[in-house]
Symmetry: D3
């Protein structure tokens, strides 16, 4: 039996972008764990080696990111843009990211939110990814001609910290309550050992997921913010609402 177009779309890989080696894990690691458990291929693109951080060398952080991605069932690559804490919104970067999109050909893309939070690189990368998702589909761009155009299914934003949660987009909540999911996610966050020295980021993220979970009537949940309205064939797809309390 040949795969139908629909089932092929579901099988399209998930592609997540992070500005620093731990952003994806902290911001949406539980969702990635969920998706890889369900059989979806996941790939991470990390856009610096975290070399501006107070703790941890670039080499340490790259190693941590590789270990962490593996714990989530994902592969990872590093792309050099301007360097940690030095990211600028250049079209040359957009082109570079668009060519990755054409190579990986994902269904779903995850990127940091466009809302400025504690690190300037986050929102700037989100903007670059959003632009890249557009350029990837234009047939006439000579800078991208070596690979065929590609249109993704949906771009979701994640927020590395609560400050980055977009106030004007209604999130979708992904139920990540299964014990093995929370465990895999926690392990992936803990793999970034160099960053745990000064602050308890993992505790922040678990409290956040617990809070979303309690609101959704489940154990833990993570919020993703769609760049565009969801298009559904029927309300049967729409799950249920989060107002449990």
């Amino acid at each position: 039996m040949k795969p139908t177009p629909k089932s092929r779309r579901k099988a399209a890989p998930l592609l997540a972008f992070g500005a620093h080696p731990d952003d994806i894990e902290f911001g949406c690691g539980g969702v990635v764990a969920c998706e890889t458990r369900a059989g979806r291929v996941a790939h991470f693109v990390v856009c610096s080696r975290g070399e501006a951080a107070t703790h941890g060398t670039a080499a340490q952080r790259v190693a941590e990111a590789k270990q962490s991605a593996a714990l989530l069932g994902a592969t990872v690559e590093f792309v050099e843009l301007d360097g940690d804490a030095l990211l600028e919104a250049k079209v040359a970067h957009t082109i570079k990211l668009a060519s990755i999109l054409r190579r990986v050909r994902p269904g779903i893309v995850l990127a940091p939110s466009l809302v400025a939070d504690q690190h300037p690189d986050h929102a700037r990368l989100g903007q670059l990814v959003r632009d890249a998702a557009r350029l990837a589909r234009y047939g006439g761009l000579k800078e991208l001609r070596s690979l065929p155009p590609h249109a993704i299914d949906q771009l979701f934003f994640y927020a590395v910290t609560p400050e980055g949660e977009p106030p004007d987009i209604t999130p979708v909540l992904i139920d990540i309550s299964a014990t093995e999911i929370v465990a895999a996610w926690t392990a992936a966050m803990d793999a970034h050992a160099s960053q745990a020295r000064s602050r308890n980021y993992a505790a922040l993220q678990l409290a956040r997921a617990r809070l979303w979970g309690l609101r959704a009537g489940v154990g833990h949940a993570m919020a993703l913010y769609p760049n565009d309205p969801l298009v559904l064939d029927s309300l049967a797809q729409a799950g249920r609402g989060a107002r449990r309390f």
Copy 2:
């Protein structure tokens, strides 16, 4: 084989509330047609007989509403609150609507948006329905004791006209492009013949659905606004994004 809880939930009826005999049809008729085609039971609760309209008697409008509901595959009942154009946000009304919720026991509820539009009754009824959805689940309310508590799965708002579209809720777009759906919906709108005399409401709604459809990359679509974030088990449920152009 016994139905699982999940499949039972999907089978739960859809319950739509309208302030006037034609509000449901104009605001979300295409979605209802979609759902009843897919086998879901749909029931309408109309909260006035439209007696304040410039055209059409109450009797005519009730007859039109019955015919229209039938064309959409739905049943309809009328409930008296304060009368057309006279609706007030009284708790006694909330109790009345909550008891209907306990009787019908729907999964999905559709109600007019909370954003004020051209008719004061619309947003006011939306508020009453939202409150009723809460009261329906409280076990201790003696006014509702004759029926067991009921928790709905999700409340979606529809906008009777574009003015009522909530600017701060990301909609979900339901693809209503199938020829028979658009035809059933158009027929249902046309059934309200008394209202077609002065204004072309149906043309407005079809232009709106065409515009949403073009944005979603399909023929026609309608927007619904969830009261609470959607809770999904996986991104595979999330459909695709609307950014087609």
Copy 3:
């Protein structure tokens, strides 16, 4: 030495309003514990006996509220408006609450947020309190003439759950990290034993306070939303910003 006007103002009591016996504790209990520890008098006004809840009788809930208030160092009184889950925005209620304001003569008033959350009574009571704070200062209102007018210093809103957090008001974060404060607050929440049967409300609130705390660089914090901009004599009063991560 006679007290200066300023120190007298600081000594003015805190008055907190709740729609149900546990709202104040869940929504701002940690702040109340903070203030009473620092010597401020605190008084609660609870506007129903929680008789519509799925669990707990009115008598039980009143007893729990009394015990809980005592654990926070506050006194409590009950006022009958329309009954649990039946609250309407009547001016007669505003007058009743305004006369309490004139009697207690607080500096700071705490009320549930105006943003609708899971219970219709919450936002409605917030509205009544805001109106009452205005009426309390009008000299000519004959309904209130038995007590002299009173102007409060500031009205802060609290959110019983995250859904009620106003997106358009910048909160102030109160550091409630001291061990004895968190303990007193937890005990006060636990005193509402009848409500703990079906849901872990206290866990929700502690996760929320932990999350605000992590954002503020402290152990636990609670957010209050001022009704009006703060007026300060100097930036030395402005504390520090919350961007710790």
Copy 4:
């Protein structure tokens, strides 16, 4: 007696950034006068010499800025970025401003609002300062290694004109009513004599401060917009609300 950490923090200098020689004075001069009167050290960083203005040469404007800063009790330095009306959001600028932050080591930082107003440089500089305040605290940035990291207490935005007032941040209002404060501020604005030729900017600012003052129940007030929620130890710090009328 050794100074406590708290009093030392209060003594930390105020650092204000302006895109043009008169922006600080027009946008927050009254607050600076307040703080220097209270003994706080204040320093201005002006990021162009105003050479694109219709009136006044660069040399005149630098001289006016020095005189004006002196009238407010502040010191001033000039930093060259891209030149008046030509400012771009380059990371190299962020690094330059971050190194100033590490040198001056302020508690409070004032910067133009991120909301675009009549001059493109204003919001762009605000963005650069916000980013700089982050980079100043990262230990690993080799571009900044010559000076130890520094974390500020709070970043406040000021609006050069009403168009720049952020609609989504609740301001704090600083009471600047004292006669000598208003006089010092007015003198500082008048010191920019070259800019008074075509428009009465000082009249605009005084009307604005009068309006905020009337709203706050005092003579004159200025609004500052915190980048992050205020963290307070107690509600006693929260001053009073502005709803005087």
Copy 5:
């Protein structure tokens, strides 16, 4: 020559609603002066006699309102709803106001903004007027049958104080700079002598109009907030933009 429909519409009276005897004057008096100077008929409907104010008896305030309206070239009538500070959003009030709309048959209607400010009556009256403007045009409302339906051209909101300025509506600014307009408006505000005892409301309003004027590049201006987008035949009607500074 018979008047064309267009010129007749321009001649349609202006109808302004106020909750208290001085609201219209303080909130939009300058605009009324402008319009009556230009030959338009203006009529005020005042919905209480201001009897809850700290200063001034009902009789005094009615007399002041009559004098003030005359100074602006307007007529005035009083309508009893619930009394000062006691206004509720009842449909019976909407009907009463709608019947006034049918009697006066205005082109332009002015009403207090829907944004809550320092007095609960203001926004509530704004809501009643907006609803009334709808009901006035419905042909079937038996409560209004004694007068023929009437559709107004536009509803504008005014803000009694800056707190009531709607943040989500772009205002139109009316140039009221002419000396005789400002003088007439000031005299009309001063006519409310009983309210001048405790606070300088007129100074607040003049500072506000001066600030809007400076933004608009004129002496004084007042902001009105349209309920619906303006429909223009050509951009020649669109005047000019306010960004003068």
Copy 6:
């Protein structure tokens, strides 16, 4: 008879900027047709040759744009910035656009909305035009000295697709219902034949204009979003409101 200042202002040309050869036509072509019919001179500045599009060569698209402009009664020029899909927000571009503004000396300027939509170039160009409108009026900018300063009357944004409609600006609706206007606009859109292959953009725009028209009570209308509040001499200029349904 000498022209009065007012009539001279009305005669000032309209200048519209587009990022790609068809943006102006799709986003505001009907308004341009309206204005040129009324005798106003219109000029288009197109900032790329659309060479990144999936269909159509640069040469084809330039030819289409020229034909289309002619159908709308406008002239057109092309300016090279960074190329299609590669636009960056550089001050050098702002200078280039500002010098065009000084040369053409328009009254009204039309530019794409600042709200990001499906193409990154759109909002970026809008930003450049807004900045350019400011720089054009500064007397001291040596980069622009060859032409005298120029202040425009108003900047209006248009949205190429509904996604770009600014949610926080109240639009003005221009009635474009006249048969010849709709015909000219449709012909101008159809002139971009190369873009019609894959998507029915013209159908999208006509549905949009029909929807705005139905809301405004006319056949077709287009929405423009003013950068600054409109300044009017009288309410007689304010047209009528759009709430027809």
